[in-house]
Each structure stands twice: as C-alpha cells, then as structure tokens.
C-alpha cells in the first residue's frame, strides 16, 4: 500500500475500554482484543475495526464521538493511556496513528472525566457546557449587514496572528480532561483573549469576560491552579498566556466596569 512502511508489521493489541450504557447506569472497563492492526491506521480506524467485529458478533459497538477525522472539528475526545488524545503531542485522537504503539500493547481508553461533561454512552460525553459558556458572551454583538468595510480598521499583523492562534481552539475539551481540577480556563481564555486582542471585541470586553467566567463557574468546572497540563495536552497548542490574559481581563473588568451585581 502507498505510504505504508514495508517493514511495519501488523499488531495485536489488548484494549481496555470504558463501557457505560447511558448516563444513569454505572459503567466499567471491558477488555477486548484487536488483531492485525496496521501501523498506518489512525486510532479511530483501529476502533472501527473493533466495532465492525463487535457488530458482526452481534454485540453492541463502542460509542465514541468523531466526525471530520482531520483534527479540526473537535468531536473526538478519547482519554488514551492516561492522557487526553493519547501519547502524541499536539494531536487529536483522530490524527493519532497506530505507529505510535507497539505489538502486544495494552491500551486503556476512557471518556473525558469531569462532572461538567457527563457521559452519554461509553466514550461519548456531553460537552454542551462549552456551548453555554460561549452563549454567555463569546461573540461580538453585530447583526448581519451594515458592518463597516473589512479594511476600515487596520489591525497589526502581530495582534491579528495572536488572536488567530487563540481562535484556533477546537473546543474538544482535552484541557478539561487533562486538568487535575477539571478546569475549563484554557477554553474560556482562548475565546476571551481572541476578542480582547481584536478591536472588534473592545465594545463588550468587560461584560464578556464577567459573564463567561460566571457561566464557567455555574457549569461546575474546577478552578485553574496553573498546573499547565491543559496547554501541554492541547492538540492545537493554545498557550497558557491566554489564561493570564483572562485573569487580567477579569480583574480589570471587575475593578472598572459599572456592573454592581
């Protein structure tokens, strides 16, 4: 096959997979064997093999979230061998390839664990808390139409690039999953700093950070203690600097905004 390393031998693996029928029922780890796994497969293609096998045997396939398989939609969310998206740095589960594992390995696969991310089934979790945080203020309140020309406000390239880097967050939740405190600060900070950096975000700068942080707390995420696991495990490399920006924005907003409540 094109691209495959002729020396790469197919692998046999043991999978320890979290199985849980639904939110209400307690789950458990179940062991499965998968054989003849090509090192060129993606991790999810390996799970496809397992699922096809289970289905043929009349057993319930393992539910997991995935969609684009290009590392951009943020759907996939597996906790592999004790780490968000597995062992490879800067990589989503769907872009993790089996060549990172060896024949005979045992691989533990669990869902994201956080009370704010309840399990739907097996490895699929509910991340709607993230949506509600964005709904609390992660936008610029402009209606469609009537906006000024795109070149009306020049933005220094460096500022624009930094805003872009923060904006590349894919909302997968790896930060929360990896954090000892199940904190969502990296996610929240990415959006807050993107909009705080850009001129378009200035108008609602104070309310945005106040409301988003309030919603983050309501959702039951933990508080950041600057451990840094989030940024280390983030598949798109969102930097801890964003959390500092969030803290600064929050402090400034609270100290200077006119909101008494």
């Amino acid at each position: 096959m094109a691209g495959s390393n002729p020396n790469a031998k197919p692998m046999n693996l043991t999978l320890k997979v979290w199985r849980q029928p639904n939110r209400q029922t307690e789950g458990q780890i179940v062991d499965y064997k998968v054989n003849d796994i090509s090192p060129d497969m993606s991790f999810l293609e390996m799970l496809d093999v397992l699922n096809e096998d289970l289905l043929r045997k009349g057993q319930d396939p393992v539910a997991f979230d995935h969609d684009c398989r290009e590392g951009i939609c943020g759907s996939c969310d597996l906790f592999i061998n004790g780490r968000s998206h597995g062992p490879e740095k800067g990589t989503t589960t769907c872009q993790l390839h089996m060549r990172k594992f060896s024949d005979g390995d045992t691989i533990t696969i669990e869902p994201w664990r956080a009370n704010a991310f309840p399990v739907n089934k097996d490895l699929s979790v509910d991340r709607s808390a993230f949506d509600r945080i964005i709904q609390a203020g992660g936008y610029v309140s402009v209606n469609t139409g009537g906006t000024p020309d795109g070149n009306e406000i020049p933005i220094p390239k460096e500022i624009s690039d930094r805003a872009f880097e923060a904006a590349t967050c894919i909302g997968c939740g790896a930060c929360v999953a990896a954090c000892k405190n199940a904190s969502a600060m990296l996610f929240v900070s990415a959006k807050v700093s993107q909009l705080a950096l850009l001129p378009q975000g200035q108008v609602e700068r104070e309310t945005r950070v106040e409301n988003m942080v309030a919603q983050m707390d309501i959702e039951g995420f933990g508080a950041c203690t600057n451990i840094g696991s989030c940024a280390a495990e983030c598949p798109v490399g969102i930097s801890l600097e964003n959390i500092a920006i969030l803290n600064r924005e929050f402090l400034t907003a609270k100290a200077t905004s006119n909101h008494l409540a």
Binding site: M1, G3, S38, D60, P61, G138, V142, T144
Partner: protein, 644 residues
C-alpha cells in the same frame, strides 16, 4: 412541470436589488409570529439561523452534532473568495461572476452566480466585524492569495483554517441568538423526514441521537442547510457523519433533485493507504500556489520509484514531467480542480503514477523552499505539512507530497429557485445542499462564499416572500401529517432493527462507494453506468434483507444511524447514475469518456445539454422523472473552457 427559476428580468447587475424591492416583506411586529426551522448548523445553517433570529423570526435550529460548532464547514482550509479588489489586480464583481460561471463550465444560473459575487463583498465585512482573524499584511490590512481558476488574488484566508474561523464566527452569532432566546437549539437531533401539509412544508421529524426519541417540530418554513452528499462514495474528504438523508427525505416528499451527477473530485488529497481507510484528507488547493505537480517522465522510472528503488528527490529534472505546467502554460498548476484531477488520473492510468499503489502524483515544494526558505513555507502551510506528516509519516519539506484526487464536494443538490426555495413551497435549501451556484464544477474558495452568502444575505431577504403570504397563525404538530410522518420514521427504525442480517452497514457502504468511484467517478461511460445502476439496485435489495444492526432504537445507537444513512445513499447513488447517463456530454466534474476532444479535454454540448436536470421522485422503485430548467446565458459567451 416547467421549472421557473423566478430570476428577475432586467440587467444582471440590477436583478438582486430589484428583486429585494419586489419581494414581499413581513413587518417587524409580525416576524415574531413566524417560526422558522433551520436544519444544519454549518456555515449556511448557522448564518441563516442567526440572521433570521436577528430579524425577529423564532428560529428552531437542529444539528446531529453535539454542538453547532462542529459542522464540516470547519474543515475548509484554503479560503473564501470575495470581489473586493483590495489587490488592485483588476478584480470586480463581474470578474468573480465570470470566473465562477466559466469555472462551473456554464451549467449554473447566471442570476444566482452574479448575486453570489455581489454579496461576497459584504461577507468579508460581516466576518471581520464578528472578530474573524483573517490573515493580514504588515500594514494591518487584509491579505489575499490566489486560487485555482482565477488570475486575480481574491481569496481571503486564516492560515489553513479559514473554514474553522468562519464557522466559529457564524457559531458565535448563533450562540448570541440562543442566549437571547430567539433561537432554540436542538443538538444531537437528526432529521429523518420533512412534514408537508397541504402542499406546504410545515415541519420536520427528528430523532434524538442520545435517547432515540422521535420528535416532531412545526414551523411556517423549513430551511435545509444539510450539506452535500459526497459520502455516497464512502471515501471522500467529507466528515464521517456527512450524509444525504435530509435532502433525500425532502426529495421523496416532492423536492426536485438537481444535477446529482455533478460531483467534484479534488486533485490534492492524501492517497488511500489501506482497506481500513475510513476517510480521505484534503491538502488545500492553496498548496498549488507554490507546489509543482509532477510524475516521472517514463513508465520505467515510475516503476523504479514504486518499488522503492529510486527516491523522488533523486530523479533528475529532465526525467520529470510537470504535466500541468506543460499542458496548461497560462494557468499551470492552478488550473481548476476538475482539470487537475483528470490529468492526475490520466498520468496514473498511463502507468506513471507513484507510491506503491501507483495511484499518486507528486506535489513538490523543493523549488519554493530553495527560492525562499523552509521557514517561509512553514509560515504559509505549516499546519498542512504537519498534518501530512502525521498521516503519512513522511516529511514534505524533504520529500515531495504524494497526492491523488478524491471526492470532495457535490455541486448537485436540491433544485431551488432564485429565492432558494425548493419545489415544495416553504422548503428552502442553502449552501452545499442546493445546486444553484457552481454549475458542473466549483472553484476553490467558493464553497465558504456560497454557504455564507445564502445564510447571511439571501435567505433572510427572500424567505419573507413566502411568509408574508402565510397567515401569522401559530403552527402546531396537531395535523395528522405529523403523526403519519412520525409513524413512518419509527417504522423504518424498527425495520432496520428487525432485519438482523449478516452484513454491517459499513460493508454495504464500502461496496456502494467502490461502485460509484469506479463507474460514476472521475470518468464515466454509458456501459459502466448501466452496469453500476444494476449493481446498486441489487445491493439495495440485499441491504434490506441482510443488514445487521444490534441494540434498540431507544438509545444511542451509532450503527442504526449509519444504517439509515446508507439506505438513503443507496437510493441517491442510483439517481446519480441515472443523471450521469442522461447527460451525454462532458462538463466540469462530469466527464463522459464518449464526449472528449481530440486532446482529451471535456467536450460540452451546449445545444442539447445547457439545462439543469431536476429529478422528480415518482414513488418507490419507480424511475424518476426528468424536469429541465433551460439555462439562458445573456451576459457571457459560451466557449470551450481553456486554461492553456
């Protein structure tokens, strides 16, 4: 039925303004009395839902994803076109219109395409105002790059993640309306039927993918923004969940399906590496700005490369064939996608392909790295190079990329008039879900443009025309049509679960995909198409006898979801073949081997086929009826496309 596009009369440049003046308006106080259902929350859907809510309509938005931020619009890499002429390189609304019509091989509707070019300008302004961090020059103004099929630089971009940034912009606008309570958002809800009451679209039936609950929802109008059907081919650059079910259910309820055979094969994708392959990954067209496409000059050298004896970097310049530059000196590596794909296939068919399967050509960056630096290349394409290396384990800075064409986009879709209304009154289709703007081939960076144009600017203006004629009385799901549709959906779920056969939905899907790729892919001929038609019919029959789904309908059941989608693909696939058989010409993405020039280029037959083929569903296992919308070109001269 005579299809009336309802495109306004008059000069091209005045049509849209004139039309906006002529459509009926719903007064602001009445807007809140209308419920609009929007299905799909990609660029078109999120933009439409947000914009309609801003106008005052009550919107119910649906997505099968866990969040509206995940639609596959997010994966678009290269950029979005707009006729801003910021580069002072001679661009204009008319040029964008012209390029799009020509790029689409003269099979799109003039009025729609011109409108698209007109509103493209506002899209950029809108997105910048939302805080979309487009690439900028050092002076702080927006940057542009060039894309296939155009000789001006009009593509706005955000590194290799333009789709993501635009979708997150639309998602933020949608989130704001959800917070205001103007949009009620239903996630993990898949459309399984459209409800038509007295000839009017009045609602939908959905299945909650977590609980399995089948629900009905009523509205005064239904907007579909459910994307394309490229996954008919099993392997494509589409996301895993992308499917045709929403459009197909609408079709079976009376919406005509237009030009289903117009599918786009993207020239630069990472080649298939094995049987287990679940999807294909695109390498952005923008790479062709700097990368040079080539194959070894002779079969003998290619053979040595395939066996691993020779490395591509060691092949002498004289032994390489930069076939696009050789054949199309004017556009070179930047010819439109269909042309680039077909040429790559031709090279591989001639035995000059590379990679161990021989189904790949090289995309080489050695020259640009030498001319500038590896760092400069990384600045532009870093994330794409990284992705390539993750997937293939090869370093594209040192060794040329291997690429091969793959199914990417479907130009065909639900037939819509100038208002984006389907043949079912009250049912609209936007974005890739409709057929309207790209003809037989879409130019790069135009999908994002069309999705956002439809969502932000067209639908909000045109939907009022229908609603103003509808009394502002509340709609409910009380009508028997709802119960009937719901029962139909439930029966189908039960049927899929009760077959208890031996083959998984994926097995059927793969088989269908192989047939489609082989006989209705990059090159088609009548014989192959007839064969495929018979095989698909057989496969469909087998499916309903032998598919295997376990579990129940009252839980999260991904195999059940998949089975339902495959069942629809099996019907749509046959229609695509029918359409390809009907169209006895080559145009854009539709290349019939019988209709080629002596040089092997596509041979269009304008005298007979300058029409939109809109297929009408006539009942289960009945042949569909062809309705034609004649395409009238008043502003461009139909010529054989030349990129030489």
């Amino acid at each position: 039925m005579v299809l009336n596009s309802k495109a306004p009369e008059g000069p091209l440049a005045e049509k849209w303004d004139k039309h906006k003046f002529n459509v009926k308006l719903v007064n602001p106080a009445n807007k809140r009395k209308y419920d609009v259902i929007v299905v799909g929350t990609g660029l078109a859907g999120a933009a439409a839902a947000a914009s309609l809510a801003e106008l005052g309509y009550n919107v119910k938005a649906f997505t099968y994803h866990d969040s509206p931020r995940r639609a596959h619009s997010i994966a678009a890499q290269g950029g979005i076109n707009a006729a801003k002429n910021y580069q002072n390189d001679g661009d204009s609304v008319f040029r964008l219109f012209y390029d799009t019509i020509k790029g689409g091989d003269y099979r799109a509707r003039e009025a729609n395409v011109y409108r698209l070019a007109q509103v493209s300008v506002s899209i950029i302004d809108q997105c910048v105002a939302q805080g979309v961090p487009f690439a900028r020059e050092y002076g702080g103004l927006l940057a542009n790059r060039s894309f296939g099929g155009a000789q001006v630089s009009r593509t706005f971009y955000a590194r290799g993640q333009t789709g993501q940034q635009l979708l997150l912009g639309a998602y933020s606008a949608l989130s704001r309306q959800i917070a205001y309570g103007k949009v009620k958002m239903y996630t993990r809800s898949e459309l399984l039927d459209v409800v038509v009451v007295d000839g009017q679209a009045r609602g939908i039936v959905t299945r909650n993918l977590i609980t399995g609950e089948v629900q009905t929802h009523a509205g005064h109008a239904v907007v579909l923004a459910t994307g394309g059907y490229g996954n008919v081919f099993y392997l494509s650059t589409n996301a895993m969940y992308c499917n045709a079910s929403a459009a197909w259910r609408a079709h079976k309820k009376g919406a005509y399906f237009a030009n289903p055979c117009f599918t786009q094969i993207h020239p630069t994708c990472i080649p298939v590496s094995g049987e287990y392959q679940s999807k294909l990954t695109l390498m952005s067209e923008s790479l062709r700005n700097d990368g040079r496409v080539w194959v070894p000059k002779t079969k003998e050298i290619a053979e040595r490369v395939r066996s691993g004896e020779l490395k591509p970097q060691d092949i002498q310049e004289d032994d390489r064939d930069y076939f696009l530059e050789r054949k199309y000196p004017a556009f070179g590596n930047l010819v439109p996608r269909d042309v680039a794909s077909r040429n790559a296939k031709q090279m591989c068919d001639e035995g000059k392909g590379v990679g161990s399967t021989g189904l790949a050509v090289y995309l080489d960056f050695a020259d640009v790295i030498k001319r500038t630096s590896a760092e400069a290349v990384s600045q532009k394409y870093g994330n794409l190079f990284e992705m390539y290396q993750k997937i293939t384990d090869e370093n594209p800075y040192e060794r040329p990329m291997r690429i091969y064409p793959a199914v990417h986009y479907t130009m065909g879709g639900l037939w819509v008039d100038y208002n984006l209304q389907t043949t079912i009154p009250g049912l609209y289709a936007t974005g890739e879900c409709n057929f309207s703007d790209h003809g037989a081939n879409r130019l790069g960076a135009s999908a994002l443009m069309q999705g956002l144009a439809d969502g932000y600017f067209v639908i909000p203006a045109t939907i009022g025309d229908q609603l103003a004629a509808t009394p502002p009385k509340p709609v409910t799901t009380d009508h028997p049509a709802f119960a009937e549709a719901k029962a139909g959906v439930q029966a189908r779920v039960e049927q899929l679960l009760s077959i208890k056969g031996n083959r998984t939905p994926d097995e059927f899907h793969k088989k269908l995909g192989n047939l489609m790729w082989e006989y209705c892919g990059m090159a088609r001929n009548a014989e192959g198409l007839r064969y495929a038609k018979a095989e698909i019919a057989k496969l469909r029959k087998e499916f309903w006898q032998d598919v295997k789904v376990v579990g129940s309908g009252e839980e999260m059941n991904q195999a059940l979801e998949k089975a339902g989608r495959v069942a629809d693909f099996l019907e749509l696939g046959e229609l695509m073949v029918d359409d390809a058989l009907d169209r006895n010409e080559s145009c854009g993405g539709h290349f019939r081997e019988e209709y080629a020039t002596e040089e092997g280029e596509a041979l269009r037959r304008d005298d007979e086929y300058a029409y939109v083929a809109a297929w009408e569903y006539m009942g289960d296992n009945q042949p569909e009826r062809l309705n034609k919308e004649e395409l009238v070109f008043e502003n461009v001269k139909l010529t054989q496309r030349s990129y030489k």
